[in-house]
């Protein structure tokens, strides 16, 4: 992976970003954070609807129709800006424990979101009639929020990968 990262850092798009890093990296990161805001906001508002803390004038289907497309759309935007960040700083991103744990959790989070949105679309009435009231669904709402929050924390920890001690591949001497 380190060899790959070092090779990537010699390619044209990477060199281009590195040569303009004083503005390119913070700008890409800022756009990434805007995407994070849309994803986390959407996850949060769907979750509080499931928990019955907000949006009770809306059915679950209305809530997922409202926020689902923003959630999935922003995930694409995060993928794009994320790829640009990896291209711009390959070693800093790829040779960390935080990055790979984050990618694993993103895959889990995205999979849960896709399955959930599809399930609500397919069995709208069953969700309104009972599934929504189940304790497991309510716990899943809390867990998914915590999952996305952890993803954000891990994203920030890419800059501090040394805190993982020997788990950080950068620490391997």
């Amino acid at each position: 992976m380190k060899q790959f990262a070092e090779w990537l850092s010699t390619t044209f798009p990477s060199v281009f970003i590195q040569n303009h890093n004083s503005w390119a990296i913070p700008v890409i990161q800022s756009i990434h954070i805007v995407g994070i805001a849309i994803v986390l906001g959407s996850v949060f508002l769907i979750d509080v609807r499931i928990l019955g803390w907000s949006g009770r004038d809306q059915t679950l289907r209305q809530t997922t129709n409202r926020f689902g497309p923003w959630l999935t759309g922003s995930l694409w935007m995060l993928l794009l800006t994320g790829v640009l960040m990896v291209i711009g700083e390959p070693v800093r991103e790829l040779v960390t424990f935080s990055f790979w744990l984050k990618m694993f959790l993103v895959a889990v989070g995205a999979l849960i979101a896709i399955i959930f949105l599809r399930a609500v679309r397919k069995h709208e009435q069953r969700w309104e009639d009972g599934i929504l009231q189940r304790g497991t669904v309510k716990s899943l709402a809390v867990i998914t929020f915590l999952l996305w929050a952890s993803i954000i924390i891990l994203g920030r920890l890419i800059a501090y990968d040394h805190i993982w001690g020997s788990w950080s591949p950068a620490a391997v001497k």
Binding site: A37, A159, W167
Partner: protein, 200 residues
Amino acid sequence: MDIAAILKWIEATGLATSIRNSLYVFPMLESVHVIAFALVLGTIAVIDLRLLGIASTERPFKRVASDILKWTWIAFTLTAITGGLMFTTNASVYYHNFYFRSKMVLLLLAGLNMLAFELTAGRTVHQWDLARTAPTSGRVVAVLSLVIWIGTIFAGRFIGFTTSRATVKDEAPVDVKFDDLFQSAPAGGGKIPAAPSPNK
């Protein structure tokens, strides 16, 4: 007491010192700051898009606002607390930083923008509560709100690139005894800095 002395005093407080001396607290404050700020922007955007007639148009404006703004305020409070704690660790550097100052100006503008809403479209909500879009003044406020809050993110991110973190005590990271998990990790020295440049 001049401002420089106040800033130095803030940096010297026990709170600021203990945050500086911890390997974990500052990154955690940053993370919670991002999470809370994401919720501020994520929730406020719902209100702005409702004002613009882009989304949630089938719901009365007042219902959307009362349903969502409470979360915005909780998240904003958390953002302010974590931001304030980060500020204490290196107060004089942040105080003189252009992007930090820009961010504070943007926060002020966001407040004035909210005030402008209350004094214009906010006064006649009962007339357009069910309408698809807010009157012009409301839509202008909505666009400004989105621009200001997104601008705040950019300013915030640039702070991290234009300031250096106050030095942390040279605390050795905990040695997790699961080395074998990473036996396959690239061995041998490289150009990877042991201590990555922080904040970025």
